[in-house]
Assembly symmetry: C2
Homo-oligomer: 180 residues x 2
DNA sequence: GGTTGCATGTAAAACGTTACATGATTTT
DNA sequence: AAAATCATGTAACGTTTTACATGCAACC
């Protein structure tokens, strides 16, 4: 792989038409952000690099006195996107502080596990709600819709696991207290 | 938060006794790696910083001519770990290239969605198998066990979603071909 | 005698976020 | 007139990975 993953996010976001860097960022923020984020600090320099590499083309389209550049895929960029799409996905990374806290919850002098589970559950239920709002606010077509549903079901599954596990822990605790 | 998350991984790994940097890395690699990784490049410098800050203590324990330092929590370090455990988790980050490819799968000239789903499924099923091996190779106690089961169920859920969705796509495709 | 495992460490590069700076246009 | 949005960009900072370097000990 020669291009960064951010490059593919940009190529992908240009697949359906011309976009400015600002529009790309806005699209990312309402769609891929939940599984692949990108900041201005990545997007603007990457747009330059992709243009130099001939994978995208930028044309100045100022609106009034406001400078503005819209980018579009070149045939080479479209091929590059296609090649990437046809290869097996490589990256799946997770950073889950809640799970880390649960893992260490046997550390002396505390009973943090149920509260950690409750907090994690709250977090994922909030994500579910935000995604449901995205869902309501205009149905995205095709695969975006599929991915949105994945996000909802995925976060709901995690929230449910947390609740299920928290209840199991509390039952264990109750049994222990009864036995003791 | 003043400490890095890596610092808490180290404090947590020291909660049950003395460990060398090498042992901490080995523990991470068979346990938290799936939701929180750490490299030597993070661990060794962080051990220094934590020792300077008085949260851990290192004592030289060479074995033969091989230099070796075992670290343990100080009371301050134990307090710091406890405080962190009692606070709500902040970080939940995901980078899922397969989902990104699925999201863009409507790009011209390809039918990559089912193959992307199949590849993602294979990946998560491989993770499930690795985790089941960890499970067999000695039952971890307490919350580590809980987290291990989370990992298995979580990856299995994703694998199942992929298969379910892939089949739905193929049915749609079959119907389209019949109608057309 | 060679390979694997134990053990420590660093340097460079890559990656990513945050904060800042600037200024026009549109909406309230 | 103010606030929000559109639009571009950079600098500093922090994090993380990768690759390298070193050497002893244990096992085969």
């Amino acid at each position: 792989m020669e291009l960064t993953k951010t490059a593919y996010v940009i190529l992908g976001m240009l697949r359906l038409g011309k976009r400015t860097g600002y529009e790309i960022k806005s699209l990312v923020d309402v769609s891929t952000r939940f599984f692949w984020a990108a900041s201005y600090g990545q997007i603007y320099p990457e747009l330059r690099r992709l243009a130099v590499a001939g994978l995208i083309e930028g044309e100045p389209r100022p609106q009034g006195g406001r400078k503005r550049v819209v980018y579009s895929l070149t045939p080479a960029g479209r091929r590059e996107l296609r090649t990437w799409l046809d290869a097996d996905p490589q990256v799946f990374e997770l950073r889950d502080e809640g799970l880390l806290k649960l893992f260490f919850a046997d550390a002396v002098g505390g009973a943090s596990a149920p509260e950690t589970l409750a907090a994690k559950r709250r977090h994922h239920e909030q994500v579910v709600e935000r995604l449901r709002e995205v869902e309501r606010s205009g149905a995205p077509e095709g695969y975006a819709d599929l991915v949105l549903h994945y996000g909802i079901e995925f976060n709901q599954w995690i929230a449910d696991w947390c609740e299920r596990t928290r209840l199991a822990l509390e039952e264990d605790g109750a049994r222990d207290r009864k036995v003791a």
